[in-house]
Amino acid sequence: MKGKIAIVGDGDSIMVFKAAGVAAFPAADEKKARDILRKVAQEYQVIFLTEELSRALGDFLKRFDESPYPVVLTVPSGKGSAGYGDEMLKSAMERALGVDILFQK
């Protein structure tokens, strides 16, 4: 199956992805991103979402966890990473194992 790749995010960070051949959908705020995601999810299999937006849309993104596609991946934005990806990882791990095997010091 052929899949298409898209990125949803604020204007700055997604430009460079656009130049690299990823379909870019600018979304200034949370509400707009929600509408765009709903549309994009029908058509694209892999969606990158910048961290600020995916943090704000956490509950909304849960619905994509039911099936293998589309895949939504949180990427850091131009402002750098705030560790949301690690948080998601941690919550999945705690749900499945009940213990922390990656982040304990």
Binding site: M15, V46, F48, V71, S81, R95, A96, I101
Partner: protein
């Protein structure tokens, strides 16, 4: 009759419980492997991507806004991915591979924008396979986590509800039957003594 039926159910339940427990163990083993991989990939991607994006914003600030906008307004050849589905312990997880790995050059003229921007675009293109891989792995982690949770619930339901209940019912019936048998024997003895 009922006792026989219940015994069959109990043995099925026990066997099912054992199988599910094995499945759970194996899933957890796979999960730990995948999640380690996920962590490694994520660290790598976040580091590289943050650096690239920072560099890109520097590049952007060196050129006037409209120049950047026009330079990046033209889309390049879209990258495509090969999407498949893989089964990990009966859970369908995505398996994605980038089919056209290298984008065909830059979408703008070199004179339009600084070389830092070219460099960032190149780096992002290089990062794409990694990003796509991370996307697949991370999704797998989430799907597997859900499945493990569901499976754990099933195992516990069998272990702590279903099996004890069946055992108790079987014991009750057996006690009753034993008592009937004893009563019958005693009755016989009594009758014999009288005769």
């Amino acid at each position: 009759m009922e006792l026989k039926k219940l015994k069959a159910r109990l043995s099925t339940a026990v066997r099912g419980h054992k199988l599910l427990k094995d499945k759970s163990d194996e899933m957890i083993r796979r999960f730990t492997l995948i999640i380690r991989e996920n962590k490694r990939l994520r660290d790598e991607v976040e580091k590289a991507l943050s650096a690239t994006l920072r560099q890109f914003s520097v590049a952007r600030s060196l050129t006037p806004e409209y120049a950047v906008e026009t330079a990046f307004a033209m889309p390049t050849s879209a990258v495509e991915a090969e999407c498949g589905v893989e089964s990990v312990m009966g859970v369908d997880v995505p398996k994605i591979e980038l089919s056209s790995a290298d984008a065909a050059g830059l979408p703008y003229a070199y004179s339009e924008i600084t070389s830092e921007a070219d460099e960032s675009v190149r780096q992002v293109s290089q990062l794409l396979p990694l990003l796509v891989k991370l996307a697949a792995v991370e999704k797998s982690v989430r799907l597997l986590a859900d499945e493990i949770e569901r499976n754990k619930r099933r195992v516990n339901a069998l272990e702590y509800v279903m099996i004890p209940q069946l055992e108790e019912t079987i014991k009750y019936i057996r006690d009753k039957l034993d008592e009937n048998e004893r009563a019958a024997i005693i009755r016989l003895m009594k009758v014999k003594n009288k005769a």
